[in-house]
């Protein structure tokens, strides 16, 4: 079981190693990456993620228990990045290992859906601005949280 909130790049191979172990016939990993979408401010070049660290990690641990209890997950990874992420970078990894694949798929999906609506993490777009200049106070965004 591993939860993490970090300003450093997330490593898929490292996440995978956390999910190894006996009794884990099925492993499902979801990774979310920053897309070059067209947002309201223009084309997204980067996203800044910020988190309320203590409560976010507490929620991660609650989600971990939920996955174990509801889906019989034997191992899990819930990692989220904070700070400024460029297009293509991985913002989140959730992964689970369990004896059977149906439960693993359901657990991974449940984790990411719950994460999005119950964990105090926010993203702000940094787009190629259409007209207005970047405001200096935006530099305060994206506090790293570990």
């Amino acid at each position: 079981m591993s939860v993490r909130l970090t300003a450093r790049p997330l490593s898929i191979p490292q996440a995978w190693r956390e999910l190894e172990g006996p009794g884990t016939g099925a492993v499902v990993v979801f990774a979310g990456r920053v897309r070059a979408d067209a947002g309201p401010l223009g084309r997204v070049l980067a996203l800044v993620y910020e988190a309320h660290e203590g409560p976010a990690l507490a929620r991660f641990r609650a989600l971990e228990s939920r996955a174990r209890r509801r889906f019989g997950v034997t191992r899990s990874v819930i990692w989220h990045r904070v700070g400024r992420l460029r297009v293509g970078e991985v913002s989140v990894i959730v992964g689970v290992a369990s004896p059977h694949r149906a439960a693993a798929f359901r657990a991974a999906r449940d984790l990411i859906e719950e994460l999005k609506v119950t964990v105090p993490i926010w993203k702000t777009e940094r787009a190629r601005p259409v007209r207005r200049p970047r405001r200096p106070r935006d530099r305060r965004a994206g506090r790293s949280a570990g």
Partner: protein, 85 residues
């Protein structure tokens, strides 16, 4: 002199206020969460819109009653709707 409350602003709340955190003076006996939110809204009028959809968090836990007291040394956070992932 009593310790202030450490107030944290995230996402749209941070943008509205123009900073991520502020130390806010409170009376020695504390102040209700509703009153504190009101004082912040008075000081930062742009915060009003965000407060409507935000949850208030005291020391890492959601404020359940608006009468709940926020005391010197507490952490008080404004959580706009989440958007991780």
């Amino acid at each position: 002199m009593t310790r202030p409350v450490r107030v944290l602003f995230f996402a749209t709340a941070r943008t509205a206020v123009g900073r991520a955190e502020v130390d806010w003076p409170v009376p020695p006996g504390g102040i209700s969460a509703a009153a504190l939110a009101g004082e912040l809204e008075t000081a930062y009028p742009a915060l009003a819109r965000t407060l409507v959809t935000s949850r208030l968090v005291r020391n890492g836990r959601y404020v359940r009653r608006r009468s709940e007291r926020v005391r010197p040394g507490d952490e008080f956070a404004i959580h706009p709707p989440y958007g991780g992932g």
